[in-house]
Symmetry: D2
Subunit: 310 residues, 4 copies
């Protein structure tokens, strides 16, 4: 028995904490074999009206960080902006025109909305669309972000930092199902089908101030909380961290499993690197959220500047 | 006398139809010498609530065109997307990640929201900020689009194509003040301070179908209608054409004067290349509009995917 | 018999004119199973000295076209240059610095030197290196152009346009083995192992003047002449056309077979879009050639500005 | 007198050590008011033949570093390479084609050849061409690198590290005129008009191994040695460091004055970040050098892969 306990404790005797479900268990999706929209199918006039009813004082709170060369960024990505200074038109009204070239993985930098072409289990994406079949040099023929459209729904902030009484959760804290339930209970709100669920960890206060730490690790949901959240049928799950989920995962055999659980298995979008300080400080737990992904043909996601309205 | 009338009508005897006002006549702006927001200062909870009250059936109508290599684009700009295919993470859950590099004047392609660093009269921009002082290699130190924030206000569609009983206005038709007034009267709506004014010309039906014609010329407002509109104090003026205004201007000495009237003189934003077919077909003349420019540090504008909600 | 002749003439009864050899027939290469240099292995001090002896009058003739936005370019590639204007250093000597961002498939634009990672038969490149194994997001782990080094050898111009008495060969003229032999005989030069063979078609006079025609089709060597040339063991084969070879191939079942014959099967480099007018006009048939590919880690080729010295 | 000597030696009593000459003292250039080529005018068949006579054993020594994401680079520049994997052509020979997008200040990265549009004194470049007049968004209308052509001339290595008996000169060592003269004397070579002068500091051994130190400071020529070298009328001056010259300059009021002395005042090219280890180890002090700048229209310089032949 000592031996057994010991094995259990060491993890040797346990299976891996989570395994991606086989294709047979997740395809076709509940929305049909041809579906490319996943939880986006939940969008409806009812959700829009429910959101609109939350607009009571007319305040707009921005949830997007500034896109700048000083922001934290995944080292395999870039954000470069080159000013193209004035082209002066020859007419007599001396109209000059400025613009700028931007070179960036624009779908995957800054506050960003993840589409379903972004993540895979092996070669397989949402609804078992294959990368090897859908990827071209200039975009994906299926699951492109241009199909998603704007998200207008009820947003719910779940403030785990406040629940724990801290400004910022510890570096690799895994948010539990109990945490979520306690915070919702404390905030007196309930999740509903079609919500946008937004989790405040406080980690966003490192943005632009300690980018190295912001990127190195972060607190967030893990496998259990992700699966619990997916069962609530949200359209998207967001947070004030780069991957939304705890990083690294406590199970070192797993690389960002929430990405697979949400995007690949359940067709739920992620909204990363949110700016949540103002929303949390004002204790706005329910609000209308509007997210407008750029309609980039065949892209895996979009940088966005979402807002909460209440 | 006949001769004189004829000359006046032909424009031969007249001076240039419009001249950019001198700095002394436009600076400091009505919002103060340090202001960078122009008509954005009109934003208020009242405007948001007024917009929210227009959400009655919960329908979201997209006003943004798809960003693709097949769209019409100014020949000095580009939109290129390069798929970066799967990076497979080494962990056992076989998580693959796709993204894409986008190279584009992302502030000035597709459906786009113009900020005040975009246009000049000589070296001078809105509120007499000088390009030579504010431009750096990596953006503008003043008037950057990141300052604007989302626009949530009442949108008003003025359908000039419908007024004229055509699918599409003629190639270089200049919309008059009378046209605007008649259309508003016919639609039974009135403009209010802080509105987003959106003009339907029908030109958008050429988008992606006859890009050469879409870019070559287009109908739209000219100097008179622009000045009349500016006096109504909108936050933005948009249309289903590349420059919002008639192009070329009937006065060949003028290069896109509406750009100067709106952005430089009055601090009113432009919203270009809108997708207005659905809105016009459904005769939705009043609605809540939400526009979320990407918060690109120091940029002249932003590609956007705005929506109407009603 | 009439029928048979007719069938032979129409090609219906013939097999395809050429088929890529199976891996068993071309791997390992004659330079060994680990080799990445192909005909580059021919480089030697003897070849360099032989080339140097051809420098008799000290004239340098440029063989590279200007890289500009006005040049003919494959539509799936780009060449964009964005001036980055003066950064003024703060010190008292007022030193300003200009540079420019270039966005281009720099290995495959303008006068260009093809490396072995550029072309495949299926998934297989020179010496049966597999794309699927050697390609990363940021270059090839094998066959990269940085391994090639400069080519300094005897260059031989074969002027087929002059042989035929024309300024420019017809649009899709396939240069035959007999053409090559006759031109060499007329020019009184013989090919030697390790030469750089350069073919003048006259097509280069369209460069920058009629880019559409330059790109649409072009005269050049076909399968038979390519195989004959490969047997002469050159280090490279070049021409004043985009693909060096006739395009399209007379056998419509073949896509640029010379690319496979030279780069994949025989490990011989191609030098495309050469500027050969001056060399041909001066009847310089033997010369020292120097080609210096940029040493781009893991790249498929390099834009170059080669010279002939005689 | 002791005091005076001391003051002179310490520099305390002196004014700034060097000032850029006024336009009146340097324009028009000795090559005429319209000249854009500077020391490039020295190129001649005689120089080429003189170089060719130095090719005695047929060895080619590469003087260019590999262009890679791992190389030292000025932080305001970038070198990114994105593999564009196989486009498979539909014909039956299964020809696949790979290429790569490169995003870089390609004229000013890696081993690089500086043209005259690169540097200024205030707004003024070589021969008093003004940046404000010659710069466009897409290149310079004058002084562009495409005008330079290949350099084929006698190269002379001056090995200062060997003179001092060290592998690498100290971090900010300023090479003196006496150093140059002593090294040349020791090496038994004399400079001649039209030479390419190449200085070995040993600093190149840090390349790719300690990039931070390679970029932070470096030994090299200062004002006195630069002016002495310019008087020898070389076509170019190169070294195994990023700026060729000592950095920072001992006079902190000067920002890279050799750049102005060579490029702006004297029209002499610079060749930076050379790979000189092999040349120095083999004590090859005289050789033919061939440098082939890419002919980029309107560019300030070119990445190159030069060679020495002897």
């Amino acid at each position: 028995m000592i031996v057994l306990t010991c094995l259990a404790g060491s993890g040797i005797a346990r299976a891996q904490s989570w395994q991606p479900p086989p294709e047979s268990a997740r395809c076709p999706s509940v929305w049909g074999a041809a579906d490319e929209r996943g939880a986006g199918n939940l969008k409806s006039p009812e959700l829009v009206l429910r959101a609109a009813q939350l607009i009571r004082i007319g305040e707009v709170i921005e949830l997007g960080q500034v896109l700048s060369v000083d922001m934290p960024i995944n080292p395999i990505r870039q954000f470069d902006l080159h000013t193209k200074r004035t082209t002066m038109n020859p007419q007599s009204n001396r109209r000059g025109s400025n613009e700028e070239l931007v070179i960036a993985e624009i779908g995957q930098v800054g506050t960003q909305f993840d589409g379903f072409a972004h993540q895979t289990i092996g070669d397989s994406m949402y609804n078992c669309v294959k990368v090897s079949e859908a990827a071209t040099r200039t975009g994906f023929t299926r699951l492109g972000i241009q199909n998603v459209g704007a998200v207008v729904t009820r947003g719910v902030l779940i403030d785990i930092a406040a629940l724990k009484g801290v400004d910022m959760l510890p570096d690799t804290y895994e948010i539990t199902v109990q945490d979520l339930e306690q915070a919702l209970s404390k905030q007196r709100v309930q999740l509903r089908r079609g919500d946008a669920v937004v989790i405040h960890t406080g980690w966003g206060r490192l943005w632009g101030k300690d980018n190295a730490r912001y990127q190195a690790t972060n607190p967030g949901i893990g496998v259990a909380a992700s699966e619990w959240l997916a069962r609530q049928s949200p359209i998207l799950v967001g947070a004030d961290t780069a991957p939304v989920e705890v990083n690294p995962n406590p199970d070192r055999q797993l690389s960002l499993p929430t990405h697979q659980i949400m995007l690949v298995v359940n067709g739920v979008h992620l909204l990363e690197n949110m700016k949540l300080d103002e929303l949390a400080a004002k204790r706005v737990y329910e609000f209308a959220i509007v997210v407008e992904p750029l309609k980039i043909q065949g892209a895996t996601g979009s940088s966005v500047a979402p807002i909460a309205i209440h």
